[in-house]
């Protein structure tokens, strides 16, 4: 299983803060995005925003980064703290 979490504007747009996916056919962040995009046109649109950031196990990574069972994947907008 892969845990996926969402933050800030993304969480509100998807009306979802977290979910779990089975890891069949998931090898990278891009695969996670693809699986979630299949849920609906809304998910597809929100997850394919060019500025979307992703993390695996609390480290920021790009779309080609590997994902395996037990990982925590996060998607969120560019950060605006400080």
């Amino acid at each position: 299983m892969i845990k996926v979490v969402f933050f800030a504007k993304l969480r509100e747009q998807l009306a979802c803060s977290e979910l779990t996916l089975n890891d069949d056919n998931i090898a990278t962040i891009a695969d996670v995005k693809q699986r979630l995009s299949d849920k609906s046109a809304q998910w597809q649109q929100v997850l394919n925003s060019g500025s979307l950031l992703s993390a695996v196990n609390h480290d920021m990574v790009d779309s080609s980064h590997p994902v395996k069972s037990g990982d925590e994947v996060a998607f969120f907008p560019p950060v605006t703290g400080g």
Binding site: A55, H58, P77, P78, V79, T80, G81, G82
Partner: protein, 167 residues
């Protein structure tokens, strides 16, 4: 003071990160950086506060969200990078979360060093990287013509450009 702090992480013996709802005291933080620290002659602090204006809008308050776990990891990494570049002593980073009103303190970065250059540079570096690497998000409450609306802030190119000047 420890009762006010919701989540304190000691990244190493001389660095501390706190993500908290509660306000902080600049005086107390400086005292902690200086306490029992005779080796460092320089103490540089930065405090960020909530402004009443942003992009021409009148801001009435802010709500800050973060990604627990990743925030601490990202800040620890930034402090480690700063330590590799400059000869610094103690580091303290505080970031508040939740709802904050105009004028309230949001963020604190304190760095000590033997001489001033290292603490000045490291403090600015930590703040610049926090702006683009640490997973915090601000939502503004805007009041215009007695109407209140909420909107998530967009990241600024200027923050990305500033952080890139260090690489």
């Amino acid at each position: 003071m420890s009762a006010k702090i919701s989540n304190v992480i000691n990244t190493d013996s001389t660095a501390e990160i706190s993500i908290q709802n509660a306000d902080f005291s600049l005086g107390d933080e400086v005292a902690l950086l200086e306490h029992d620290n005779a080796t460092d002659g320089a103490v540089v602090t930065f405090t960020g506060r909530v402004r009443n204006q942003n992009n021409g809008n009148s801001v009435s308050s802010l709500t800050l969200e973060h990604y627990p776990g990743m925030t601490e990891k990202a800040l620890t990494k930034i402090i480690t990078q700063a330590r590799a570049r400059w000869n610094i002593g103690r580091v303290k980073v505080i970031h508040r979360i939740g709802e904050l009103q105009i004028g309230e303190q949001i963020v604190f970065v304190g760095v000590t060093s033997k001489h001033r250059h290292d603490a000045f540079a490291a403090n600015e570096f930590i703040m610049d990287y926090l702006k683009v690497k640490a997973p915090f998000w601000k939502k503004e409450r805007i009041t215009e013509n007695k109407k209140t609306s909420e909107q998530w802030l967009d990241a600024k190119d200027s923050d990305n450009n500033k952080a890139q000047t260090w690489s």
